[in-house]
């Protein structure tokens, strides 16, 4: 009966209760969504790093990572491969050769890391092959009598392999992509010109478009104007096994885009057999064995197992290779916790405030109830339940709204394309799929209930302290 009365009391002042419930709903939603967005960003970054850059665990000679010494190759590679493949939890392995090099095109040169892979083997540990930009070539699928290199989009831009052109066809596709006529008109003078680099193109864009137009459509125009100089070549220079400078001419096999400028600028992939031959290291030469495991949660155990199996080698997992990733993950977790605490605290103040008002308004009625025989425990329970109901209704509504919106946005993601460059410069994709784990959801629900209960204690104690004779005399 007390609970029923409490529930009815919640709806006594409908407007006020709805305002409280709505603010709880919005607060919870804002909190969960922001956390989802951060988690999504983080997850995608970690996934991208694992799937395209480092995988889970890497093995190499003890000092190899310190100075990338060409001579520190692994021996008895076949035997080691077999041993690792047979370990529990291992999904795939790949052998890579890593050589420091200088990449040159006709106009520019830059220092890079040259990675020799066996494409068929590497595909199983990484999904870099999925990151090749359509129309730029392929992932070493094409037979060629030349040496082939897969370069990153940002390196290609830097080396002027990518250029920018606006043709009538480009204008048409821009039109169908929703760029307004007045903007297209302003672009007219740029049609059929050739821009050797992004910088030059943007410079000209700035001349023709207003700042506002540039902000709104610049990214899209750039994506459409982007073209690739087919059969481009680049020269790669490095040292061979006798420390003699060597190198070769490489055809661009394709351009990959993993939304991480830093990585793209510094990693060029070539076929391992080509690199083995050019360096003279021999057909078995491998610097790294890279291990992909089935379940990321098992990283630690499998790393330990590998360390036991290969005490002479350096065995490092993704968290150790990229401590910034691990740190970011744990920082985001802490940040999320702080964020939720702030939101729950705000929720709590809202409830305390409302319930204090309720107790004040109902002083006379509460006095009457104590007078006719409602004991302290029941008065306490009633006021407590009212606030718990308030927070529960708001909390549940917040959870439902969050779940629905998360489900919707998780399918298609949210595109922050106007800020894409900033995101990608830091290795984050600008297209974010917010994610929230079920554990987080359950924790938040529990926390809302606890917050509701805790914040109702004070008003309920206030109600207990009422003296019936005084309460009845109040006007």
């Amino acid at each position: 009966m007390i609970l029923r009365t409490a529930w009815k009391n919640v709806w006594r002042n409908k407007t006020r209760s709805m305002v409280v419930i709505a603010s709880v709903t919005i607060g919870i939603f804002a909190g969960i969504f922001a956390v989802g967005l951060m988690n999504g960003t983080m997850e995608q970054r970690v996934d991208a790093a694992i799937n395209k850059e480092i995988s889970h665990i890497q093995l190499n000679r003890e000092t190899f990572r310190d100075n990338d010494d060409l001579h520190l190759t692994l021996d008895s590679i076949r035997e080691r491969n077999r041993k690792i493949r047979n370990m529990a939890g291992v999904e795939a392995i790949t052998n890579r050769l890593v050589v420091n090099a200088i990449a040159n095109t006709a106009s520019k040169s830059t220092g890079i890391q040259l990675i020799g892979i066996n494409p068929d083997q590497d595909k199983k540990a990484f999904n870099l092959h999925e990151a090749v930009i359509p129309g730029t070539g392929s992932y070493f699928n094409r037979e060629s009598r030349h040496n082939l290199a897969l370069v990153g989009e940002d390196l290609a831009k830097e080396l002027n392999i990518i250029r920018y052109e606006l043709h009538n066809a480009t204008m048409d596709s821009l039109r169908s992509a929703g760029i307004p006529e007045n903007v297209l008109k302003k672009l007219n003078p740029m049609v059929d010109k050739r821009y050797a680099s992004q910088d030059l193109f943007v410079k000209d864009l700035k001349k023709h478009l207003t700042k506002k137009m540039l902000e709104a459509h610049g990214q899209k125009i750039m994506e459409h104007a982007w073209t690739f100089r087919e059969r481009s070549r680049l020269t790669l220079t490095f040292l061979d096994k006798d420390n003699v400078q060597t190198g070769g001419m490489f055809r661009i096999a394709g351009i990959y885009d993993i939304k991480n400028s830093m990585y793209e600028k510094s990693h060029v992939f070539v076929q391992k057999k080509d690199l083995q031959q050019l360096t003279g290291l021999g057909a078995q030469a491998t610097h790294k064995i890279i291990v992909r495991i089935a379940d990321r949660e098992q990283t630690k155990q499998i790393t330990e197992a590998l360390r036991d199996a290969f005490p002479a080698l350096q065995v490092q997992n993704w968290k150790e290779i990229s401590p910034d990733l691990a740190m970011m993950t744990s920082m985001i977790e802490k940040f999320n916790a702080v964020f939720m605490i702030i939101i729950l605290a705000a929720l709590s103040f809202g409830i305390v405030n409302t319930m204090l008002m309720v107790v004040l308004e109902r002083t006379k009625e509460l006095g009457m109830l104590t007078a006719i025989g409602m004991n302290k425990k029941k008065v306490f329970t009633m006021i407590m339940s009212e606030s718990v109901f308030l927070s529960l209704v708001g909390g549940v509504a917040g959870m439902i709204v969050s779940k629905i919106i998360l489900m919707l946005t998780n399918q298609n993601g949210i595109n922050f394309s106007s800020a894409a460059e900033g995101f990608e410069a830091m290795g984050f994709s600008a297209h974010i799929y917010p994610t929230i784990s079920n554990t987080f959801f359950i924790t938040v629900t529990a926390l809302i209930i606890i917050t509701g209960i805790l914040s109702s204690v004070y008003p309920a104690i206030k109600a207990l302290k009422l003296d019936p004779a005084d309460a009845l005399r109040t006007e």
Binding site: T5, R12, E365, M368, L369, A371, G373, M374, A469
Partner: protein, 228 residues
Amino acid sequence: MKVLELHNVHKIYNGSEVNVHAVNGITIDFEEGEFSAIVGPSGSGKTTLLNMIGGLDSPTEGKILVDNTDLSTLKTSDLIDFRMWNIGFVFQSYNLIPVLTAKENVEFIMNLQKRPKKERDQRTMEMLKAVGLGDRANSRPAKLSGGQQQRVAVARALASKPKFILADEPSANLDSKSTETLLDIMEELNREEKITFIFSTHDNRVIKKARRVVTIEDGKVISDENKQ
């Protein structure tokens, strides 16, 4: 049989400037089945007296026995229980819980008393009929007139089977017609069911209906008149 005895009861409120001697040495008994009015001008101490009788406030000095129980011997929590079982209250206003129907309000104390549902249902309807509101059982207080609300309060007080019913100016907010109906119902319940009523008032029409009139002034009984 005495249901209520007061022995030299005083109540002094310690104000910031002056101490108010609201009840100043009252000794009085009430018998079972009485229909008594406590009358006196505003500020004479009626509410203070009734609050002490009802165990809502404690005397500064003196003793109050309800059905031979000294109220001062009860702990706060026991006192609440004692009130629930022994004393029925009707206040001037704010008697009812606005979110509950008339029926639920009447049932409320019986619910606190944990009486079985069957008894509750039966008694609730009985009491609502007794106060002439059998057809308004499902109305919320806001849909009832002031007089009807007071009658629901009387029905609720009765339903819990108390030793007596205390009513502090039950008709203060009512028009004369409602006042008459309310008093008639109370009188009838007193006559037929032997319910003891003690109520305060300064309304002459109400005083006329009382069988005993206790007049107080400045916290003292100045006359105690039995009209039987």
